[in-house]
């Protein structure tokens, strides 16, 4: 029994390696297909005039004169040894450049997930219990609206609402702060900045999870053991909370895991609307700058988070449902 779990984990861990290698190859060659050169860009920014010699020096400095295979080996070796190297654009260590932005994006993702959980599980449950009543239709419409509404548009509406609302209430329009401060330094400032993007994305993610909660709970409620519980004369509340919800949560947890991983890579648009200096913005900038090392590091970071979240979800799944690990 213990051995089976152990074997499953090891097998699952090995499955992650090809995905990571594949992503590394993909990002490495995709970036090199983009026309343009970082050295030309850098020199064009500093004065406009540049000669071939200076260009060659710059390329040697950045290691761009080496063969593709050597560059690729360097990149993979750096990833394996957790040495992200320096940004080609700023020359600063990538780990330093990323840290504060990573903190911001991670916090928005966590807050969005929490928002989604608090919306999705109660609404999905009510919707399933009251199947095909007007409450059910209302919840379903609310959740489909969440999937339909672009989160960047919701973001624009939230900002608009804040401006108009505060203007009407106090006479002075209020906007969320622009500067990011870690939560332990100034929690009020931090939350008042990040709660809005979290709600804008969280509503969208709640929609997927609400529908999942509803459909799995509906399936579970038709199971024999629920009928048995009803026949025993248990309170409906006990049946839902103790018998049905627990079993219905499995796919819902999966959804939250996968959505969380997507969130880390998909915050670009929301960050743009709320003017946040997070990972998404850095992504766009580094691709535009032909900053290979930075883009590679960012892609590998997001892919690793994605793969690990999936891994944890699968392990969790196997732990809850023993049938899986024997297949």
């Amino acid at each position: 029994m213990e051995n089976a779990v152990y074997q499953y984990i090891v097998k699952r861990l090995f499955l992650m390696i090809p995905t990571l290698i594949g992503a590394a190859i993909l990002v490495f060659f995709l970036l090199r297909l983009i026309p343009g050169d970082i050295c030309e860009l850098r020199m064009a920014g500093t004065g406009g005039y540049f000669d071939k010699e200076a260009l060659a020096i710059c390329q040697t400095e950045l290691g761009l004169d080496q063969s593709i295979m050597v560059q690729f080996a360097d990149f993979v070796w750096g990833f394996i040894t957790f040495d992200l190297g320096n940004s080609m654009w700023t020359g600063q260590p990538i780990a330093e450049e990323i840290s504060l932005r990573f903190h911001l994006s991670l916090q928005v993702a966590i807050m969005a997930t929490l928002t989604a959980i608090f919306i999705a599980i109660p609404l999905g449950t009510i919707s399933a219990i009251k199947q095909d009543t007007w409450i059910d239709y209302l919840v379903r419409a609310f959740s489909i609206a969440g999937i339909a509404m672009p989160s960047f548009w919701l973001g624009i509406l939230i900002i608009l609402g804040l401006l108009i609302g505060t203007q009407a209430y106090s006479g002075i329009p209020w906007m969320p702060p622009i500067q990011f401060v870690p939560i332990w330094e100034d929690p009020v400032h931090n939350i008042s900045q990040l709660i809005w993007p979290a709600v804008a994305t969280g509503y969208r993610y709640s929609a997927v999870a609400t529908r999942m909660t509803r459909s799995t709970l509906l399936e579970v409620l038709r199971e024999d053991y629920v009928r048995t519980a009803r026949a025993k004369g248990l309170l409906e509340k006990v049946i839902i909370n103790r018998h049905a919800l627990k079993n219905a949560m499995l796919p819902v947890v999966t959804i939250f895991g996968i959505e969380f991983a997507f969130l880390m890579g998909g915050l670009v648009v929301t960050e743009q609307v709320f003017n946040l200096n997070g990972l998404g913005k850095l992504f766009v900038e580094s691709v535009g700058n032909h900053d290979f090392t930075m883009t590679q590091a960012l892609v590998m970071l997001v892919v690793t988070i994605f793969v690990f979240t999936n891994f944890i979800v699968d392990i969790f799944y196997a732990w809850l449902d023993p049938r899986i690990r024997y297949n």
Binding site: G22, A23, L26, P35, A145, I147, F152, R222, L298
Partner: protein, 302 residues
């Protein structure tokens, strides 16, 4: 996303023969009664397609002509949805924007899902090493951040509708392939596939004539889901400046071009295009949900 759960419920779907005696009109009415939300979705979808096709006749103004005497006009009898910072009629731009949205939505959903269908069935049919390698490649594309893919495609090929379609199609392929593959795995076990092979049919014929028709249900469900997602992605990428470029009317572009800047003084510029996107995606999702209920007997309410 919910591919994992979908694949479980879709596995082993068998399409039911529709009753021949039932007249076409009665079955439509019956469906409307049983799937009121789906019928509402179908009406929105048909409306959007209608708008896209007949934009030239429906739009009251030219969507690309600037009129600097009519900038930021609030919604009125003449300009129902107001005008933008160049004096262009917002309603006309929304009507023409439907054309861009439907084009990108349908083309990328169809290509993405069809490639996924063929690859997914082939992967399930051949199995073994081919299946294993194929699955790992699909894993990579699933894990790869979509925005980066889009950024790369646009940086390599340039912006424009065709490249936008490429960028949106790529992530659809593995998602569809995964769902179709799990359905096809179940079908592969049914004896008629073995029978077809015993008769000496070619791989291509078995895949295209015997297996593909039996995974049509998940395929159709995926297509409708993808159209909605593609419209959203088109709007998001265009909003980021990676998609459709001015002056082509597109919903995402309308939200990008000054809508934020003028949000307080001209909120109609931000509100109506967003409503158009939401309504379109809403319609496709409602329709897709109903389609899933009809095609997937396991989820059908008893």
């Amino acid at each position: 996303m919910d591919a994992r759960s979908e694949s479980q419920s879709i596995t082993g779907v068998e399409l039911e023969e529709p009753a021949k005696s039932q007249s076409w009109l009665i079955s439509v009415l019956d469906l409307t009664r049983r799937q009121p939300l789906g019928a509402a979705g179908a009406i929105i979808v048909i409306g959007m397609i209608f708008m896209a096709i007949f934009a030239d006749f429906l739009a009251p103004f030219d969507p690309v002509v600037n009129n600097f005497e009519m900038m930021h006009v609030a919604p009125s009898a003449e300009h129902w949805f107001g005008t933008d910072q160049f004096g262009r009629d917002v309603l006309s731009r929304i009507i023409f924007g439907a054309r861009t949205a439907m084009l990108v939505g349908f083309v990328s959903a169809f290509i993405g899902a069809t490639l996924g269908l063929v690859l997914g069935v082939a992967s399930a049919y051949f199995g073994g090493v081919f299946d294993l390698i194929f699955q790992r490649i699909m894993d990579v594309f699933m894990a790869f951040p979509l925005i980066i893919m889009a950024l790369a495609v646009v940086s390599i090929f340039g912006t424009g509708v065709e490249n936008l379609i490429i960028a949106i199609t790529i992530p659809f392929v593995p998602r569809c392939a995964r769902v179709v593959r799990s359905s096809a795995l179940a079908i592969r076990e049914i004896p008629y596939v073995d029978a077809a092979r015993a008769l000496g049919y070619s791989h291509r014929r078995i895949i295209l004539r015997h297996m593909v028709p039996n995974v049509m249900a998940p395929y159709l469900i995926m297509i409708t889901a993808f159209v909605g997602q593609a419209i959203l992605l088109e709007a998001s990428l265009t909003f980021l400046g990676l998609g459709v470029q001015e002056p082509t009317p597109a919903w995402g572009l309308m939200l990008q071009g000054g809508a934020e800047e003028y949000a307080e003084s001209a909120p109609w510029m931000a509100i109506f295009p967003g409503l158009a996107i939401s309504l379109a995606v809403f319609g496709f999702n409602l329709f897709g949900d109903a389609l899933r209920d009809v095609l997937d007997p396991k989820l059908r309410a008893q």
